[in-house]
Point group: C2
Chain length 111, copies 2
């Protein structure tokens, strides 16, 4: 994701932190890709960041222009069905937090 | 981190997403541990979650009871000095976002 696509705060984020189980890596990867493509079709989605460590613990932060855009994604039918299926199948446990970003800053680009 | 230590929303988070460079893994690990120990001594710090992938991209989310607790951590002298040193040394680039969590939910414990 290009940083430049992110707006200035305020914007909203969904923070998804989860422990993957060992089930069905291929199915998981295909679905994660499909979910990202669906998100990219939503209005007000500047992008997402994700990291997963070798033990399967991962954090994904998705960025949304405002809370309405985030809620529209939550309620998008394909996403909602895939989410319910996937969360039951691929995670030992997960947490979701919805937050409003009030400030943001970053490292200066290298000279 | 035990989930049970986290309060109900609202609370605050600092989302730190960063690309590690290849420098000084031992020094980085020791400092990360030291920073976590310093944070644990701060009032209003229920914990943190962190994941870094094999390519060195990582996300750390630290949780704070309220914005005042988060700002007190930002301004804690040892932390501020270590942060300035570390960010110049160990990252290709990073971003920090300060956000207020309004809602949170999680998977049900296994039966």
């Amino acid at each position: 994701m290009s940083d430049s696509r992110l707006p200035e705060p305020p914007y909203h984020v969904a923070i998804f932190s989860a422990q993957r189980n060992a089930a069905d890596d291929a199915g998981y990867a295909a679905t994660a890709q499909r979910m990202f493509e669906l998100a990219a079709q939503q209005p007000g989605f500047p992008g997402a960041e994700s990291a997963r460590d070798a033990a399967g613990f991962g954090i994904t932060v998705s960025y949304w222009r405002d809370e309405a855009a985030l809620l529209a994604w939550r309620d998008q039918p394909d996403q909602a069905a895939t989410r319910a299926h996937g969360r039951a199948r691929w995670y030992d446990h997960y947490q979701v937090r919805i937050a409003r970003v009030g400030r943001a800053y970053r490292s200066r680009p290298a000279a």
